[in-house]
Symmetry: C2
Subunit: 340 residues, 2 copies
Amino acid sequence: MSERVTMRDVAAIAGVSSATVSKVINERPDVGAEVRARVLETIARLGYRPNAVARGLRARHTDTIAILTDDLEGIFTNALMRGVEDAASAYDVSVLLANSYGDPEKERRHLRRLLDRQVDGLIIMSGNRVRPRSGPALPLPGTPYVFLYEYGAAEPVPSILPDDRSGAELAARHLIGIGRRRIAFLNGPASWDATRERLDGFTATIREAGLPLEPGLVQHASSWSPEDGFALATAMLTGPEPPDAIFCGSDDLATGAMAAVLERGLTIPGDVAVIGFDDRSLAVHQRPPLSTVALPLHEMGKVAGGLLLAAIQGEPQRHEIIRVSCELRIRASTIGPDGA
Amino acid sequence: MSERVTMRDVAAIAGVSSATVSKVINERPDVGAEVRARVLETIARLGYRPNAVARGLRARHTDTIAILTDDLEGIFTNALMRGVEDAASAYDVSVLLANSYGDPEKERRHLRRLLDRQVDGLIIMSGNRVRPRSGPALPLPGTPYVFLYEYGAAEPVPSILPDDRSGAELAARHLIGIGRRRIAFLNGPASWDATRERLDGFTATIREAGLPLEPGLVQHASSWSPEDGFALATAMLTGPEPPDAIFCGSDDLATGAMAAVLERGLTIPGDVAVIGFDDRSLAVHQRPPLSTVALPLHEMGKVAGGLLLAAIQGEPQRHEIIRVSCELRIRASTIGPDGA
DNA sequence: TGTCGCTACGAAATCGATTACGTAACTCGG
DNA sequence: CCGAGTTACGTAATCGATTTCGTAGCGACA
């Protein structure tokens, strides 16, 4: 229970007023070199640290932004948050994480608390409450916010998304480039916006190359799970003309698809090349290691953080959807020892 | 930039003093029913929310605790944090997450910031700075803290760990129970405390059952990766007397081990039963689904949160290592269609 | 009726910083 | 040598709540 040393203590010992100490800390110009040195020395000697709560009260900003997410497993949040932190650390702003785990009530509570806590801005990865399906949206009084990895936001604020369409194009072109002719797309659930955009990119590229695009080659799974990937891939492979490449909507789907290929005694990538989407860490540990289209999570976070910080500094916010390019990660499931 | 409504506004409109408003909010007894109702009505009508920063300054507590972690991937942190949040929500305390991603400098900065921010307590899952290998530990002035999932803490504070020893016993007994006689232990790196404890539990159980315990049956991997699991399991299986069961130190190791078993044309669990440790989400998606010893992450978080909150309420802290029991999750890799 | 004890409320200090403003001391040109 | 301008520091208000303490009003009781 040792009493913390306050600014007054420093001032008294250094023989100046607390206003001067404050000026030294905030590096204001109107303080002499001699006094500054004495104050600095006293601060160091006493181990003084400013009380951020008191500072926040008076200064009317807390140098804190928050991420509001509902990512159950925290799979994507980690990388996204790291990007945001990288952007924020340049401004000496710290980042809070509030996870509702998909519970709207929790989300509401979190949002209220964050606002009570006077965060300077919000990154929203969870739109249940802010843009609810029904009922009024929670007002965000004067607090800037941006959407991150949230499809379909209509507010007049930036919204940062991966470039799903061009990501799918990347995958398709890669498979075409290694000589595949019957390329299947094992897409995610049709209800997701991302799958539609990826479908567009895939279809355009395949059509452009003059390759077949039969209904059987393009399927929507009903979830993103490996189990669904296994089931759908098995169905594709048992058809009359099986594909020689499968582009999967997620690494999990691809994991299941690879199991299906191997179980039928076919080789990867010799008989069937497989490529995923996301680049989750499991991708590299697959046998064979899974080629994939990497989601630019870190970069997306950086962009979101940068825009939010700019908005906090007073820059006007426009409504724009910012697409961040995906990156192709080529591994052994498309170019392997038994391939090409 | 709409000015936020303050307590004074509420007081003025309700025709009372701000002291009274404060009392209503904090549910103090000395306020009449009639006035209370009027204040409450005014608060609701104006949409007033108390400013947590101002409150924290005067009340000298912020109703906030923080988790300091260095978990790069955030694999365990998510579940742990959820446990902490569950414990904290009963006290209406919110939980901050600070991740150093293994960078000691970042950890130092986070810790300083959290203390500046006057958090009421800390859960430490990252001991670099608090108990550094070299150099002085950062003092935590009057702020209670507990260690969570941190081996080898020597401070006079509680330290919450999984019961690794009995977890290993659980696995060994299960394998014995399904009739296996040559049980191998593909343990994690020997430098980790947990592996030693698991080894103790495993050895004791096997010895007690009178089963063989040759050096070849007990191996340490040099990492926790599937690749190492694959390599070591392959070595075990190509020996003169291959095991009929493999207990792996992590689900990742087990994933590699299963691949090794299958690649040699053996069946799981028919020829070789495989069981892991951790119960990461990938376990259930394996083919076959992986039996495993589940780390009680959620419960550990709850215990840690509960103890920290108790300490904040003023209860004295003892130095004790609290072990939380692991749980056996039996799936098809030990009891499957081709097994038993 | 006078006094004691409660109850219910308000005035004002307080938490620990930031900041607008006032003012000595000093500089410098005319 | 004087007045304006600059520099360097201090005084005091302020941020928005909590909390201590004082007191008006009331009922009860002797």
